[in-house]
């Protein structure tokens, strides 16, 4: 049977194409474009979260559990070590200054408030950025290069709901636990320095710590730590999902994810400290 021929490949029918090879945008517009993509990505994550909370598609329980295992218990030793060293460092530096005016007894105030409000959260965030944010970026970038994410999209599965939400939620879930452990160990390490190097008694250190610490310090520290967890998760997943389709892109995405997370953590720490302090907290 003769077939009606398909439309010929007539260029006159084609809609006009834009110029062949557009010039690469300058650094300024490129950075602006990157920032816009990041904002758009954050919007996608929030929308996916809202859809899930309203009963829509969300993360698989198995995926969340796998990520929880990866983020939590396996990060604990290194978080404890870094928080302990940071607490020790603050105690030594603070003690050296306070000893000049004979106020070593206040080492506990500096260490406890500093570690609980700022240092435990920042150190835990930094460790998670290097350990988990980079892993997220590498995993998702490898999936992008291997067309696994395209395979999800073709099925109509939202990669943000399926891959990003479980990772960010796992980080948010484990962060408070890591933070609390980190803070306790940091304050305990400060006790070592105070007692060992500056002659403060254990009872005085504990008493002064409890006197200095307020519930406000705790919730501020916990809130900040949770913000850092979200930033680490977003940076890792954003860089992984937008990595490109080559093997080299995986390494580049990993580096960008860590750098971005660190910058975001420091910026968030600064902004929250300035804002909360100026508000009287």
């Amino acid at each position: 049977m003769p077939a009606s021929p398909p439309p010929a490949c007539a260029h006159s029918q084609a809609e006009p194409a834009r110029p062949d090879a557009p010039a690469a945008p300058a650094a300024g517009p490129r950075a602006f474009g990157q920032a816009l993509r990041t904002v758009a990505f954050v919007g996608e994550v929030l929308l996916a979260l809202a859809r899930w909370l309203r009963g829509g598609p969300g993360p698989r329980a198995a995926e969340v559990l796998q990520q929880l295992d990866h983020c939590g218990p396996r990060s604990l030793p290194i978080v404890l070590l870094t928080c302990a060293l940071a607490g020790l460092m603050v105690a030594y530096m603070g003690g050296a200054q306070l000893a000049r005016i004979g106020a070593q007894g206040y080492i506990a105030d500096i260490v406890t408030v500093g570690v609980v409000r700022e240092i435990a959260g920042v150190m835990t965030g930094i460790i998670l950025a290097g350990r988990i944010g980079s892993a997220y970026a590498a995993q998702l970038a490898a999936m992008e290069a291997g067309e696994e994410i395209d395979a999800l999209r073709v099925l109509g599965v939202d990669p943000v709901a399926h891959l990003v939400l479980p990772r960010v939620l796992a980080l948010v879930a484990v962060m408070p636990v890591l933070y609390v452990f980190g803070a306790v160990v940091g304050v305990a390490a400060g006790w070592l320095a105070a007692v060992g190097a500056y002659g403060v008694s254990s009872a005085e250190y504990v008493q002064q710590s409890l006197r200095a610490l307020s519930f406000t310090d705790l919730w501020i520290g916990l809130t900040k730590a949770t913000i850092y967890a979200v930033l680490v998760g977003l940076a890792g997943c954003r860089e992984g999902l937008h990595a490109g389709r080559s093997a080299q892109a995986v390494g580049a995405a990993t580096t960008r994810a860590v750098v971005k997370a660190l910058v975001w953590i420091v910026a968030a720490a600064t902004v929250t400290t300035v804002v909360l302090t100026s508000m009287g907290y």
């Binding site: 009606s4 398909p6 490949c9 260029h11 067309e147």
Partner: protein, 268 residues
Amino acid sequence: MPPPLTQTRAAPADAPALLQARGLAIEAGGRIVQQGLDFDVRRGEVLAIVGPSGCGKTTLLRHLVGLAVPRAGRVLLEGQDLHAGDEAALAALRRRFGVMFQAGALWTSMTVGENLMLPLRLFTPLDGAARERRARAKLALVGLESAFGLMPAGLSGGMRKRAALARALTLEPELLFLDEPGSGLDPVNSARLDELVLDLRHHLGTTVVMVTHEVPSVLAVADRMLYLDEQERTMTALAPPALLLEQGPPAVRRFLRRSAGAPAGEAA
């Protein structure tokens, strides 16, 4: 530029168009690789997209399945523009597709069986046992019954491809896209895959669009062949492959004969 050859073979020649490309211009890496693409994929046919490396075959496939937005023109599924609606509308259209990607694209954190059952869990009312039965049946179709519990990392390249094909078939799509299905397969499995494609077409009426370098496969299974020319950056032939082999534009005949192993001079 020679006009495209657009004769057709008898098989599904009178079938209505299922998928249409209209004035399509596609880009990769910010550069237009093909433009002015106008063709129909008819319901029930096997259409092979062929051309030299770098001509944009895989890029075209990504546009046809809605993974990339064309620089110009439209892709229509039964008259519906893939990109006219929102993401949900596109997702609904895509569920009529099955796609086998070039490297398989199995989800590496799941077993092969879970890879096949995930689409069933998401988009069918089947219970767990029924999902497993369906997944095992699809694996048997591609000769991978024993791979159900294996992780993708434990499969060879060819096995991964066959598992990916089984996954593409789980939702029993009406339109199946295959990206280089035969590459990495031994001749026996490659021939088996060709037979499977023909079976799907004959028994289920599945429409197949395959991107391939394997000219023997094209000659064995394709009703029509679309040739993308790298120099012209557009399609220069759309016709049954056997016809193109004899009467196609010189560049197409050269490509087919070289790829099929015949002396290139015969094409001149």
